[in-house]
């Protein structure tokens, strides 16, 4: 329960068993490989980068091919893959995947090529359409657009950038060339921005006619086709259809491969695994006949692996305790209640070298604080039901998601608990419904008290919880220091603070003014106040004397000590920070009440009931979402800032074992 003890493992074995040993390690996923940078001369490393790249490329080809496949034949929309998790496969299925991986990769290559053909076909069709469009104005022309005339005639085929009628054109030509007889002009098509014309004249007037036409804005078409426009259009149309047919054929071929999707994903995983194996292979130190592998292994997994390796592969396995200066990776292991909050710890930072896993201590606080902030029995039940159903129904979901769901399940239980204490079920939904639709007065009494009627009480309770939380944090600090046998530090950094903060709180409670301010009814006997003052004094003096103990210079030391004492203001703000428990708790209840009131505005009757149901569903859905988010964020904040601030630094490196990091399937262990 806590940070798992790590051992250093060294495996020395014959090269002929290399493949089998690596595969075993990968399947067990218990060893993080950490080979030394240097080794004796006889050992060398093999460069496996090329092979690894090939595998990675294959994996990428396969996933790309699946993306192409999915865009053409989308897989059936089922439950999100997040819930379904990775598909377990048996050894037999795995061997099949391995055997056919090469073929599957080629298939993926084919799919990618087909995908490219679809794209090309579509682009070609697009190009043909564009050409057809540019040809449309010329369709009336029955000679080639490249004609320049015959022996005796000159022909000009081109366009003007304006709308012209035949009469206008002829008039202008006549005006420009009074000396030239018999210029025949024909309008092929005319639109507001372009007029296509066919002009013919006697060959000897070719030059002046052309220059006159140019002066009027005439231009030849860009890249005119060899064939007459109509024929060319027909040709383009055929080309376009062919391209589309080609794309369609490719599409159908891909669609017919839809049932190979799973196979391809498995093959992609297989190649990812092999790439990882080759990465490790490249790190191994090998001699002509042997190899050595070093790494870290959780102590609890070590004996089994050692036995397996020694028995099956005649390997020599050495398990050692890592040296004090080694940076050992961290793996957490916790029980049912504390395992779910590991993610929260990880979100901050994993425990550093001398630190303990805070999860077992913080999990209870986490659930209690979360529940107090959400504090509605119905919301809590919804969370319990939601998470519980998913957990019960989808056994195969990934471990990290499972932990999160469990965390919210426990938070939901705590929320229900606080909700019952404060008498909040969807806010005040039950009395409102009874009043509006059945004209009855039903109230569910709070088991403890209603926070809105007595916020001061909840505020004090929040502070009390906060003080317990903070003192537990300090206690953790003491535990860590004592574990490292730093008893003096534990006294200076923890016990003095207990004296000071605890004494000040008791002192405050023993004053009449504070008690009346907080409307507390109890009175403390006089000696408590005196004793508290004495303890606070001891604590204060102790802190002033010891907080600066690193400095040799007495003046500096005193100043540092005084500054250390100033940290007491930090405790004040830390405790005040727990007032968010009250604030967020009230927010849930009040907003729920607002929605209930809004829903009941139309009064009783069928219409009113429908309106109420709609407002209820939307309003409470929204309120639940926003307040779960708020409770989550602020519980994390209280843990990270107030609680962890007292003892926890983190900085550990996560244990990252050599394993089958697959995305689509997982092995079922055969024993």
């Amino acid at each position: 329960m806590a940070v798992l003890e790590m051992k250093r493992i060294s495996i020395y074995a014959l090269k002929k068993n290399r493949k089998a040993i690596l595969e075993l390690l990968q399947r067990r996923g218990a060893v993080e490989i950490a080979t030394p940078e240097t080794a004796q001369e006889v050992f060398t490393r093999t460069d496996t980068a090329a092979a690894r790249q090939t595998f990675e490329k294959n994996a990428k080809t396969l996933t790309d091919a699946v993306a192409v496949l999915d865009s053409i034949a989308p897989p059936e929309k089922g439950l999100p893959t997040m819930l379904l998790g990775r598909e377990p496969i048996t050894g037999e299925q795995y061997r099949q995947t391995v055997d056919s991986a090469g073929k599957t990769a080629r298939l993926a290559g084919r799919i990618l090529a087909l995908g490219k053909r679809i794209d090309d076909g579509k682009a070609e069709a697009q190009r043909c359409s564009a050409l057809l469009d540019s040809l449309t104005p010329w369709l009336g022309l029955d000679v080639s657009m490249r004609s320049i005339g015959t022996e005796k005639t000159s022909v000009f085929i081109g366009s003007f950038p304006e709308m012209l009628t035949e009469g206008q054109l002829k008039e202008r030509l006549a005006a420009a060339l009074p000396q030239v007889p018999a210029v025949e002009a024909e309008i092929i098509s005319a639109s507001t921005s372009q007029t296509c014309v066919f002009v013919v004249c006697h060959a000897k007037y070719g030059m002046p006619v052309e220059s006159a036409l140019r002066a009027m804005g005439f231009s030849y078409p860009a890249s005119p086709p060899r064939l007459p426009p109509a024929e060319r259009a027909k040709e383009l149309e055929t080309q376009r259809e062919q391209a589309l047919a080609d794309a369609e054929a490719a599409r159908q071929e891909i669609a017919s491969l839809a049932d190979r999707r799973r196979e391809m994903l498995f093959a992609a995983d297989y190649y990812t695994m092999r790439a990882e194996k080759y990465r490790v292979l490249g790190e191994l130190w090998q001699s002509p006949h042997t190899f050595q592998l070093t790494g870290y292994i959780p102590a609890e997994d070590a004996p089994a692996l050692e036995k397996e390796l020694e028995e099956n592969f005649a390997a020599f396995v050495e398990i050692e305790t890592p040296g004090p200066d080694e940076e050992v990776p961290v793996k957490l292991k916790n029980h049912l209640l504390s395992a779910p909050v590991e993610g929260v710890v990880e979100g901050y930072s994993l425990p550093g070298r001398y630190e303990a896993d805070p999860a077992p201590v913080m999990c209870l606080f986490y659930y209690v604080l979360f529940g107090l902030m959400l504090s509605d029995a119905a919301y809590g039940l919804l969370m319990v039901l939601g998470c519980g159903i998913i957990l019960a129904k989808f056994k195969n979901i990934e471990e990290s998601l499972k932990k999160n769901l469990r965390m919210f399940l426990f938070c939901g239980i705590s929320t229900t608990f606080w909700g019952v204490l404060f008498g909040s079920y969807f806010g005040d939904a039950i009395p409102v419904i009874a009043q509006t639709f059945f004209h009855k007065e039903i109230t569910i009494p709070a088991l403890w008290f209603v926070p809105l009627n007595d916020p001061m009480r909840l505020l004090l309770f929040s502070f009390l919880l906060g003080i317990i939380h903070l003192f537990t944090g300090l206690g953790m600090q003491a535990y860590l220091l004592i574990r490292r046998r730093k008893f003096a530090d534990a006294l200076y950094d923890v016990v003095f603070w207990y004296f000071l903060v605890g004494g000040l709180i008791l002192l405050l409670l023993s004053t009449e003014m504070f008690r009346s301010m907080m409307s507390l009814t109890f009175t403390l006997p006089g000696w408590v106040g005196t004793a508290a003052a004495v303890f606070a004094g001891i604590g204060a003096v102790g802190i002033v004397l010891t907080a600066g103990r690193e400095s040799k210079n007495p003046g500096k030391r005193l100043l540092k000590g005084l500054y250390g004492l100033y940290n007491v203001s930090g405790y004040l703000s830390d405790i005040l920070s727990y007032s968010r428990l009250l604030a967020l708790g009230l927010a849930t209840g009040v907003i729920a009440t607002v929605f209930n009131k809004l829903g009941s505005m139309l009064g009783g009757g069928v219409g009113g009931a429908i309106f109420f149901a709609v407002v209820f569903l939307i309003g409470h859905g929204l309120n639940l979402a926003i307040n779960v988010l708020g409770a989550y964020v602020h519980t994390n904040r209280l843990q990270y800032v107030e609680f962890f601030g007292k003892f926890y630094e983190g900085g550990g490196r996560k244990f990252n074992p050599f394993a089958a990091h697959t995305k689509y399937f997982k092995f079922t262990e055969e024993k």
Binding site: S579, R580, A587, T593, I626, G630
Partner: protein, 174 residues
């Protein structure tokens, strides 16, 4: 002389009728300013979040959480506004409040109104930076969430003072 005082007497104005006006002004202000602050804040963070999602839709869940962080001030404003409305009897009950009480309600609403509006905007700035942080280092989400939550502390403290004031004014004898 006597005439004047009778004249004054006859035109005298019942100042206490203004109590409810000030009380409602407080309730409205707190909902208004909290809402404005949060709207500005969530708008700013929403722009940043949308930018991240264009690059990597997989981060939607994380940036959504960060986007919503400055949204709580609006909720706190609503909370104080609503509690004030019930306390002063606008939502059922009698709405008879002395001028002094009305002004007290107004004063009680002010911490949440002002701190809510300003803190929402600054929390949004912290949130925008945190969104940028998550875009580059998604594994640092836990820490990214804490920076904006720090700003929220002051909104919570203001909420605390407002709610303590509002709920105790009713019992005062003024």
């Amino acid at each position: 002389m006597n005439d004047l005082s009778t004249l004054l007497e006859s035109v005298s104005f019942n100042w206490d009728s203004l109590g409810i006006v000030f009380a409602l002004l407080g309730a409205v202000l707190v909902a208004l300013m909290g809402g404005i602050g949060s709207a500005i804040g969530v708008g700013m963070t929403g722009q940043a979040a949308a930018g991240v999602v264009t690059e990597d839709p997989g981060k939607f869940g994380k940036v959504l959480v960060l986007q919503l962080l400055p949204g709580t001030q609006g909720i706190y404003g609503l909370l104080i506004g609503f509690v004030t409305l019930t306390q002063i009897g606008i939502l059922g009950g009698s709405a008879e409040i002395s001028l002094a009480k009305g002004l007290l309600y107004l004063a009680g609403c002010l911490p949440m109104a002002i701190v809510g509006m300003i803190s929402a905007k600054w929390q949004a700035r912290a949130s925008v930076s945190s969104i940028a942080l998550v875009a580059k280092k998604p594994d640092q989400f836990g820490k990214a969430m804490i920076f904006p939550a720090m700003v929220e502390t002051y909104a919570v403290l203001a909420l605390l003072i407002s709610i303590l004031s509002i709920t105790s004014i009713g019992g005062m004898n003024i």
